[in-house]
Symmetry: C2
Subunit: 351 residues, 2 copies
Amino acid sequence: MESIQSHTYEVHLEELAEAALKQHIAKSDYSKVFVLVDENTKKHCLPIFLKKLGLEVDAVFEIKSGEEHKNISTCSMVWEFLSNNGGDRKSLLINLGGGVLTDLGGFVASTFKRGIGFINIPTTLLSMVDASIGGKTGVDLGVLKNQIGVINQPEMVLVFPEFLKTLAERQIVSGYAEMLKHGLIKDEEYWKALISMDSYTDAACIQKSIAIKNDVVLQDPTEQGLRKILNFGHTLGHAIESYCLENPDKPTLLHGEAIAIGMILEGYLSHELKGLSRLSLQEIKTSFLAHFKPMTFTPEDIATIVELLKYDKKNSHGDINFVLLQAIGKAVTDVTVPEHLFAKAFAYYEE
Amino acid sequence: MESIQSHTYEVHLEELAEAALKQHIAKSDYSKVFVLVDENTKKHCLPIFLKKLGLEVDAVFEIKSGEEHKNISTCSMVWEFLSNNGGDRKSLLINLGGGVLTDLGGFVASTFKRGIGFINIPTTLLSMVDASIGGKTGVDLGVLKNQIGVINQPEMVLVFPEFLKTLAERQIVSGYAEMLKHGLIKDEEYWKALISMDSYTDAACIQKSIAIKNDVVLQDPTEQGLRKILNFGHTLGHAIESYCLENPDKPTLLHGEAIAIGMILEGYLSHELKGLSRLSLQEIKTSFLAHFKPMTFTPEDIATIVELLKYDKKNSHGDINFVLLQAIGKAVTDVTVPEHLFAKAFAYYEE
């Protein structure tokens, strides 16, 4: 399957990924090769990966999986590990895991001795189609997501769809939400294809989603304009995700589950403010609810979530900016939303 | 006094610094302006600075001064402060302090919401002539200096020599060590001028030192070659500094005090390996010992310091690389030093 050329690196899939990695390690003069895993990827992916790589790595470090460990304390443990194992400026860190692990590992590598090389090997559908492109690295600050980080590119990204076989269905569906987003913001045909498919993990669709995200990022590397469209569903989605993470009475949502709700809500705002048709809005809601269990929100929940929007790092000067849809496949950025519409959007989601 | 053009920003001195800052704030669309100080700069520099600026800042945060606070915990406090005070991507952080504060503040700004703007206002002689150029930001990891950080440039650097009036003599002399280094690695005439001067804080000398460092950095922004000469005295100096910081029986050295010892030791290595004349070596030792109190090292001290060299972030693949002098004003990089010479260098320093 064809590789995708991003900013300074390539994304390789399937058998090409294996060949590219071997070649890269052979030609690079790394002093040490370290691998970062969590308890899941250590068990399910590391043995397969080491067999593929066919060479010894210097040391493997395990962190705990889960958004609640995506913080500076975990970074400190990884920095200590690298330092204690003789990591130097010519060392390589291979991040083998989902988006939490690749975001954190990318940040640790980008800041260890002012930056060492890293390779991301996303092992979840979400991280394959989302975190694999864009150079965003970072960790959370308390309840606030991705507040600490840098933009920095990996040496390469390797996608092995076979890792998806070890994933729980819920994790897969979470990634599918981001794929649907790629259709909604940029490609109606792809959206139609996705909502009528039986499989969530088709390799050609994974490649298509990576290609869409890559096109957007390459056209706007510093997130000044077009790239904002990738945030569709994420402004409210992130706030809902943070709120549920912090609140013991609420279920902890996976990222895709939160942005699925966000996309329905922001779909409603799109209908109200940007002319998205009632039919398309209904199709968006129906499609997501076919895969994602509905949630309920009290008026207090909604008030707190709206409050959290103000901390979203994409906002400045106190304004809350949204990406909305004019139509399926056509996104528009920098829309200011009147506050009274939020309650109506939640009402539409729950009706 | 003429400004110095660095990579992406300018260093302004004295009255031009004041004008440049006012103009920059007026033309930039910052959502918030924050100032980072320590207990010393809050007392001695902040009132002067706010008067110069002639406008309100949004909030001031105080951290504790000293290398022992240059760590990730302090960063977390500053990140929290920015977040709790509504800092967003368009916010500005002004770092008002010595090298510890500007290194840490630069790192915090470079990683807050994946990077906000920052302005450095060095308040010590050392930070004026050293930390003001080069884009190095970061903090220590335990006893190991500057292990965590990124390369990132400030929006501008402002040098107000009047802040030096509030500094203790010992702090001033520490900065003078870096100025002497600039002479040693690049400009014999400047070296001669410095060692025959009565004042440590001559504004023209500060400007000259900044200009020398800037020339070197601009020729080698990614530290692949020439820039390494700035590490003269620092390989052993850093190890000595770390060792003393960690060891309760040893005095805590200021950076300049440690590298002054490092420059005598590495001067000796230069004489042994790179042909630095006996006369020049003697001049280096005499000049430093005229300003810096001699220390004594036991054989155990020396063994531990040599062990620490292996963690220096400039080293890779286990080799320890030194910058040495062929003559005063002429440095050579990437010299491997046989281990038996270290004890002899310490013996020369103490004799």
